[in-house]
Symmetry: C2
Subunit: 132 residues, 2 copies
DNA sequence: ACAACGGTTGAACAGCCGTGCAATTAATTT
DNA sequence: AAATTAATTGCACGGCTGTTCAACCGTTGT
């Protein structure tokens, strides 16, 4: 949303053959609508999920929990994640916050399992990445 | 992979009632297998995609291009992304590298469109996040 | 050939993010 | 009740990442 509308003007002239300033306005409006249709709240939520997954420690945890197909104890996950117990806890917290894991306290142990959201995302990612 | 195998030992005693050191070995092996099955190369590729998407500028670009359903010129995208032209270029480059966009040079203009991978991921994300 | 334009690239800097340390809470055991 | 254990939390620091600025390349037009 800077002022270089001139470039867009020239581009539209190239594409349409002709271009009045109202054409530029219209195009800008279309693009604005396209962007607005995303919805900031929604994008924020999706970004939260993406950034939660976009880290080796956290992604590995999710992947393992999905693969396990059952809940695992923190002390078990500790053997998987290459971080301090503290770091592990931070990671798990972030993932719960993003709705990718669910935690359950069982006596003095705490167990985590992957949510449907996590399962779906990991499965799709696995499917569409690396077919290459 | 630290030395606190003792905690896992105690946990397994709790779970199984009884636990010999070979049980701990077995569990550690299971967890190791689970982790190894992920495949470092694959995880790396997936992380690359996730970190590429996990940024407001880049994710917005992908979202817009998917919603547009057609290729858009850099000068059009410039109206959408809230960054310098240079920043825009960096973002687009990163997305191409992650296999989320494809670029095509058309005369003096350059156009980008979303790949199938991007379409799939955005669609799924939109579907499983924020139904809440 | 030169100038202008569209877009990219590399370097540099600011701000964020992941991790570890130390202290803390909650549950269990003695 | 005190001590031990499992796990979390706040803080601080180092490193990574996103952005901008400036210089550059390729194409188009004169």
């Amino acid at each position: 949303m800077a002022q270089p509308t001139e470039r867009l003007q020239r581009y539209l002239e190239d594409e349409l053959g002709e271009c009045r300033s109202e054409d530029v306005e219209r195009r800008l409006d279309e693009l604005g609508t396209l962007e607005a249709a995303l919805g900031k709240t929604r994008v924020d939520a999706e970004l939260d999920v993406l950034t939660a997954l976009g880290n080796r420690t956290r992604y590995t945890l999710v992947r393992v929990l999905v693969a396990a197909g059952e809940e695992l104890c923190v002390c078990e996950l500790n053997a998987v994640a290459d971080v301090t117990e503290s770091g592990l806890s931070h990671a798990l917290g972030r993932l719960v916050e993003a709705g990718l894991l669910e935690g359950r306290k069982d006596g003095r142990w705490k167990k985590y399992r992957a949510t449907d959201r996590a399962i779906t995302l990991v499965t799709v990612l696995e499917g569409c990445v690396d077919g290459e």
